[in-house]
Subunit: 346 residues, 2 copies
DNA sequence: CTGAAAGCGCTAACAG
DNA sequence: CTGTTAGCGCTTTCAG
């Protein structure tokens, strides 16, 4: 625990440079309107004194914080079971950093924390929020909307009431699912099953829709509901094999689910991909790559999603600062494309 | 992007309650020294107006921020390849939240970001920092020390110069490694190899030391250097099998490495654990659990590490606030115990 | 183009 | 116990 030293103030810099505080302030904030001989003197003084502006003082007058909250609601162990979260944060962090914004992380462990988060957001500590809304029935998005903070969601939120659509960034879950299933069809498979994700998340619903887009109503016994976990994948696969022993392909809602399915398939002596082809979703490493056999899967660019969320928010904030209409035409939700990654399992 | 509304100030609350700003301030900050009839009136006014203190204004005068920076240097893909990071953050977040502190996340992508982080820390935006120092030659810890911010490290930093030891929280890497290797010995194995982690990280060095503690100098060919990745594990395992075909056990520096080793073993037709027993380190899920066979491994309590780091820092800050000596006796580094988790691979 | 002056919202002596 | 009074360090009109 080192000793804290008091930092030099604007005043000190001004004194050293022989100018007024106002001039130093101008130079520090971009330096327009200060002529060259002076500006340079000021920069020098700043350098020599190691001056760093006091953000609190600045915020007090500007009412801006150059800080964005990232809210992650994660009752789900899932959020921590794959590196989603980390990649997303990395993308967000890069974009925020590039625009000199700080990232304030708000993790919630259930309802008890919701009030705290809402209060914090409403308290005007940050300029905006990036929110990951995992569940359809999650009250958090509503609370946040009430807090009146500019917000961008990660993953399409289920905003069932008639309010104007919130801003969000999502992967093309439906399109990706279609591509996966089509690939299985192209492989000549005819009994193609789907193990769904937790259907209280839009991503799971969208992937199921994508499956149905190409399979039509097919045999309903080929669809079994699960929960995005390896254990869930195992249970679902067992059920599937019991119900439809003739299944020859499985599109799993994510890689972890596929992992569980692979295990059951192996245990029941079905060869992959010869007897049953398997496709996952996410391309989470090292899971997909190290699976046996390595998993064919639908990749989404997680980091890019994070980056875009931040970009959208920042752009919106800038627009609003310039007095643009709240629903600025320059910002709108984004759906990112997915890519089918072919490995050995299908 | 909803509209921002200007929040009520202390002044407004004071007016409504018919008292002075000072009184409101007292009530809001714990309420000592305000008699009951008044205090209640103030609380009421706060409630009715939905008053939330302006943190910037408060910081400006108190010079405290109730915010802690978490610095994660991650040139390593590794940091994102396993959920370490997420669990650690969760532990930190829980502890910080319990003490009404905010978590400011600083991710770095290499040298270029170091200056930025140092500047931010030196700028006095946060009360302290939690730093994950991954590499022995990392200049970041030094920079941070210069910034003069109270800091706790995650993982024992390699502070080779003679400075008084920094505060840190770490797992008992050496003890855990010893336990793993002893287990292999107890299994009757005699040709026990070690695939190391990246030896520029103290955790890798400590695990190697633990291995040596029980194996003595053994056959040096049984130790092969690697890098904590599955690919590295594969290469190392191949080399090992070529050098010492009689190897009958492998202690891998982490689970990902073990995964690579398992793959090569399978490919070369060695049965696990019959021919070669394998132990990993970390117990990262789902990797360890879903491996084939499920991995026996040394578990460390990652989340607890995070929690402890935060606790140590906060305690130190509180101590210093009360005017305690910088190196308060109440805070000192902590090394957490590990547990051997037995599954099928050894 | 530059300086002087007026606060931003809050806490912390200091009186009363 | 409560109110008055100074600022914390910075930006921002407004004059010059």
């Amino acid at each position: 625990m080192t000793e804290a030293v008091s930092r030099p103030t604007l005043e000190a810099v001004a004194a050293r440079a022989g100018v007024s505080r106002a001039t130093v302030s101008r130079v520090v904030n971009g330096g327009d309107g200060v002529r060259e001989p002076l500006a340079e003197r000021v920069r020098q003084a700043v350098e020599e004194l190691g001056y760093v502006p006091n953000q609190a003082a600045r915020s007090l007058v500007t009412k801006r914080h150059d800080a964005v909250a990232v809210v992650i609601a994660e009752p789900e162990a899932r959020v921590f079971a794959d590196p989603f979260f980390a990649l997303q944060l990395r993308g967000i962090s890069k974009e925020l950093t590039a625009h000199d914004n700080q990232l304030v992380l708000l993790l919630t462990e259930g309802r008890a924390d919701h009030a705290r988060v809402a209060r914090y957001l409403a308290g005007g500590h940050v300029d905006g929020a990036l929110v990951f809304s995992l569940h359809l029935d999650d009250p958090l998005p509503g609370l946040i909307r009430n807090a009146g903070v500019p917000t961008v969601f990660g993953g399409r939120p289920d905003w069932s009431d008639g309010t104007p659509g919130p801003l969000y960034v999502d992967s093309d879950n439906r399109g990706g699912a279609r591509e996966a299933v089509r690939h299985l069809v192209d492989l000549g498979r005819t009994r193609i099953a789907h193990i769904t994700g937790a259907l209280d998340q839009t991503s799971a619903v969208d992937r199921l829709d994508g499956y149905r887009d190409v399979m039509g109503e097919a045999d309903p016994r080929l669809v079994v509901e699960s929960d995005f976990t390896p254990g869930g994948g195992e249970r679902a696969m067992r059920e599937l094999l019991d119900r439809c022993p003739d299944v020859d392909a499985v599109f799993a809602a994510n890689d972890l689910t596929a992992l569980g399915a692979l295990r059951v398939l192996r245990e029941r002596g079905r060869r992959v991909p010869e007897d049953v082809a398997v496709i996952g979703f996410d391309d989470v490493l090292p899971v997909a790559e190290e699976a046996d056999p390595p998993l064919t899967t639908v990749r989404q660019d997680i980091e890019e999603m994070g980056r875009l969320m931040a970009r959208l928010l920042l752009r919106g904030l800038a627009g609003r600062a310039r007095g643009a209409a709240p629903a600025d035409a320059a910002v709108s939700s984004v759906v990112l494309p997915t890519t089918l990654i072919r490995r050995a399992s299908a």
